[in-house]
């Protein structure tokens, strides 16, 4: 029998990522690491890590990484790609990093149409710091800083980043996928492949939002998180490709 599915070649073989059991960050890492492997990009890759759970795979991934200050990955990715066009630049960010403190950097990098790939993990809370409300926390969803649940009157509605970015002229590919079951993960893998390929061909900015489970802060088992994704998260954040410029 042959191996038909195995670990990505360059990531750690001895210890797993630092993510919680069932966390979507692990899945997201698998997807973009597979894309790097597929296009043989590992040796050219520069990965911009956020502040937040997203950065916990730093020792595992074995790719050149720069830890950005919270929210600033968009600016760093912009500048590194322009001055080092041969590097393959990924800005990997969570919802606190990208949609709260980093909103300006996110929108302006997209609006400038930088030739970078942005992978945005939306798990509807600030994970690393213990489950505070994020700009993507859903109406009615509780958080440690919105203990009776997010309300439209007090907190406004969750930000739909993919749709916002898709309204800008420069971005070439903007899509949202989910990571809670194999069917959706396969679609997400294709989306990430497409985004990576765009950068490889130098065609411009791609933005992939990945709805991701956070068992620890959603206070649900991974399996229940998957159900919650279908019941609530996918309704607040519709899946789809919002921009795909040929």
């Amino acid at each position: 029998m042959e191996k038909v599915y195995d670990k990505v070649s360059f990531t750690s073989k001895t210890s797993p990522t630092g993510y919680c059991p069932g966390c979507g960050h692990g899945t997201a890492h698998k997807l973009f690491a597979s894309a790097l492997e597929h296009f043989n990009l590992r040796d050219k890759t520069v990965l911009i890590y956020p502040v937040g759970c997203g950065g916990l795979a730093m020792p595992w991934i074995n790719v050149n990484v720069i830890g950005a200050a919270h929210g600033r990955a968009g600016a760093i990715a912009t500048a590194i790609k322009r001055t080092n066009p041969d590097n393959f630049v990924i800005s990997y960010q969570g919802d606190g990093d990208l949609a709260a403190i980093g909103t300006a950097e996110t929108i302006h990098a997209a609006n400038r149409g930088e030739n970078i790939t942005v992978i945005f993990i939306n798990n509807a809370n600030f994970g690393m710091t213990g489950g505070q409300m994020a700009p993507t926390t859903m109406l009615g969803q509780t958080a440690t800083t919105a203990q009776s649940g997010r309300s439209l009157e007090e907190h406004g509605a969750p930000l739909r980043m993919a749709e916002m970015i898709a309204t800008l002229d420069a971005p070439k590919y903007v899509a949202r996928f989910a990571l809670h079951d194999a069917k959706n993960i396969l679609k997400a893998q294709q989306g990430i492949m497409k985004a990576v390929e765009l950068q490889v061909k130098g065609e411009g900015y791609s933005f992939v939002e990945l709805l991701s489970m956070c068992p620890t802060n959603w206070k649900k088992s991974p399996a229940d998180c998957a159900a919650y994704m279908d019941e609530a998260v996918l309704k607040a954040f519709p899946l789809g490709v919002f921009k795909d410029v040929k």
Binding site: G55, P59, V65, G74, A75, I76, A79, T83, N87
Partner: protein, 353 residues
């Protein structure tokens, strides 16, 4: 050598390019606007890159990212912009990333004024941001020095892998003077950065991680000690100041930057009236030129004066810390954009003979 009649901000920008700077990110703020304006056209001419960031915050992190790939990088702003860039400067220091920062200072705090002042001293010299790190700080007093110090700042930054902070002010930035611009450096002559730039894999194929996060206190403490040792080296080897008519001086005026230039005129005027006055001008603000004050013969010094454009005073604290009570120090201060005047210094000295 080419002599040019050039504005301070433009001399700063051109000197950076000649020093091998090939990346600049900045944001509009008076009184430094000509720096980004000039570089937006000039950098592409030399194969460099310019980005006007969406904020000072984005701009300083663009510099952090590019400098981390070993490309000589600079940003400039004024006081309010440096408040916004503070965390980024901390990342440059903590990440041991060489970069040049130019502050064309203005009256403050808050929006303040667009006129020259020296009210950013404490933040530049003692705490550009929380975390206890220092920057190497140079204070030019005219356009020639602004160009020379920016030019040299890139070498100091590479030598120590640290952010180097050139503290000018609105006057220096917007004055035109005849300047001899330094020669254009050949990038091939610049020190190699392959040993530390993060976008290069190690020879054994392992990746490089540039992260300023330390998972344990001991690791951070080690880094703090490493940086403290570097600061000690600066204090031993890099103190710079100018002395003017000190040997027989009974009264000594001390100042830095534009205030020192103005104070020198006062010293000349007083000397012409037979009053024995000298000047000590701090050129490096950090490392502070303590030695200049230690070597004085305080039996001959009757009084000292400290001229600075900041109320309350800031530079005066470091002067007091260097003089250690061996002489009275009388402040001569303007602030908020009110410019120091020769007559003020002359009057202050005469009132305290």
């Amino acid at each position: 050598m080419s002599k040019e009649f050039i504005k301070g901000n433009e001399a700063i920008a051109e000197a950076a390019v000649r020093a091998g700077c090939r990346f600049f990110a900045g944001y509009p703020i008076t009184p430094q606007n000509e720096v980004p304006e000039y570089l937006s056209a000039r950098l592409p001419e030399v194969g460099g890159h310019f980005i006007q960031g969406e904020s000072e915050i984005a701009s300083v992190y663009m510099v952090f990212g590019v400098a981390a790939t070993g490309i000589r990088s600079m940003t400039s702003s004024s006081g309010p912009g440096f408040a916004l860039k503070a965390e980024g400067i901390s990342f440059l220091a903590g990440g041991q990333i060489p970069a040049v920062l130019v502050n064309v200072s203005r009256g403050g705090p808050a929006i303040g004024t667009i006129e020259p002042a020296q009210q950013d001293y404490f933040s530049a010299v003692h705490a550009p941001a929380p975390g206890g790190f220092r920057c190497f700080v140079l204070a030019p007093q005219n356009v020639q020095e602004a160009a020379d110090f920016v030019y040299e700042a890139f070498d100091i930054a590479d030598k120590y892998r640290t952010p180097v902070y050139v503290l000018a002010d609105g006057m220096i930035g917007n004055m035109m003077e005849v300047v001899e611009l330094p020669k254009m450096r050949d990038l091939a002559d610049l020190p190699s950065n392959d040993s530390w730039r993060f976008n290069k894999y190690n020879d054994d194929g392992t990746a490089r991680i540039l992260s300023t996060y330390m998972p344990m206190g001991e690791l951070m403490q080690n880094k703090n000690k490493e940086m403290a040792a570097m600061y000690e080296t600066w204090e031993k080897e890099e103190q710079r100041w100018e002395e003017y008519m000190i040997d027989d001086a009974e009264y000594i005026v001390t100042a830095y930057g534009s205030s020192a230039r103005i104070a020198k005129s006062a010293v000349k005027e007083l000397r012409a009236e037979g009053i024995k006055v000298g000047l000590i001008r701090a050129i490096t603000l950090y490392p502070f030129p303590k030695d200049a004050f230690d070597k004085l013969d305080y039996t001959k010094v009757k009084k000292m004066f400290c001229a600075e454009m900041s109320i309350p005073g800031q530079y005066i604290y470091d002067v007091q810390n260097a003089v250690l009570g061996r002489s009275e120090i009388i402040p001569i201060q303007t602030s908020g954009g009110v410019i120091m005047e020769t007559d003020m210094v002359v009057a202050a000295v005469k009132e305290n003979l």
